[in-house]
């Protein structure tokens, strides 16, 4: 079983790319959630939408 190194790196890179994207999604979701919280707190009372 030669070339296991290449196999390892290929699958690792796929995982890194997918994990990186999921991480970026979660960061953006968190940012938008905090914006929503800020907007809600500026409302006179109750929630909107």
């Amino acid at each position: 079983m030669k070339n296991l190194n290449y196999l390892f790196w290929a699958y690792t890179l796929i995982w890194i790319v997918l994990a990186g994207y999921l991480f970026s999604l979660s960061i953006r979701l968190r940012a938008i959630s905090s914006q929503i919280r800020r907007l809600k707190s500026r409302l006179p009372g109750g929630s909107e939408g």
Binding site: N3, Y6, L13, I14, R28, Q35, L39
Partner: protein, 228 residues
């Protein structure tokens, strides 16, 4: 997509991914000519399929946007384009890693890899266009046109690069055999299913993010109107 459905899809994808990895590393036999490194194929080709599927989604939602002017379709197109670029990137990383031990060189200008590279550039330009537009409506409209033209170009680009070049590993033949061995074919189809569902999951998540961003932008706009 309903949160419960999204969660269910997440667990399904996770389970399928574990099963796929198990099959790729424990179940399928070594390929005769290329050895262990050929197993990259089981994730490389589904990534290419997903990239193509994503660009098809861009095409359809671009047309739907121009027809209905509902921002939802623009959000879908944007999400799909991002994912298309992502999975194209995976193809472009794993291709050279596969090529190096098999053909002795990192990059080869062979038909499918070159096509993927050009496609990646087309849809990267699509994403750049969105950031450079002057306002939201213009971004949606102009990128919809590019999304439609870009996708129409896909088969033409593929065909032209094929004419220009030639060889791609004929992965569906083991040495002298008639096609993939059944177990390899089953594993391959499993990986295709896993990746398709993964794409749908990521698309749902990205659309949800996009819709939230639209909603917030709309609220901010209303907020800035005095007396609103």
């Amino acid at each position: 997509m309903h949160r419960g459905l999204e969660l269910a899809l997440f667990f399904l994808v996770a389970a399928l991914m574990i099963l796929s990895l198990y099959c790729v590393f424990q179940v399928v036999p070594n390929e005769v000519t290329m050895g262990a490194v050929q197993r990259i194929f089981y994730f490389h080709v589904p990534s290419a399929w997903v990239a193509f599927l994503a660009f098809f989604v861009v095409f359809v939602s671009s047309m739907l946007y121009l027809a209905t002017r509902r921002l939802l379709w623009d959000v879908v197109a944007n999400a799909a384009a991002e994912l298309g670029v992502l999975f194209c990137g995976i193809v472009l990383f794993t291709g050279p890693i596969w090529a190096r031990p098999v053909w002795g060189t990192w990059w080869t200008w062979e038909a499918r890899l070159t096509t993927t590279l050009v496609l990646e550039m087309v849809f990267l330009a699509y994403l750049v266009l969105r950031t450079q537009a002057e306002n939201r409506a213009q971004a949606a409209r102009l990128s919809a046109v590019v999304g439609i033209v870009g996708f129409l170009d896909v088969p033409i680009i593929y065909y032209s690069v094929q004419i220009w070049r030639g060889h791609h590993p004929i992965v569906f033949k083991s040495s002298g055999g008639q096609g993939l061995e059944p177990i390899m074919l089953k594993t391959f189809m499993l990986c295709m299913t896993t990746f398709t569902l993964l794409f749908l999951l990521l698309l749902a998540m990205r659309i949800r993010l996009g819709l939230l961003q639209e909603w917030v932008a709309e609220l901010k706009e209303q907020d800035s109107i005095p007396g609103a």
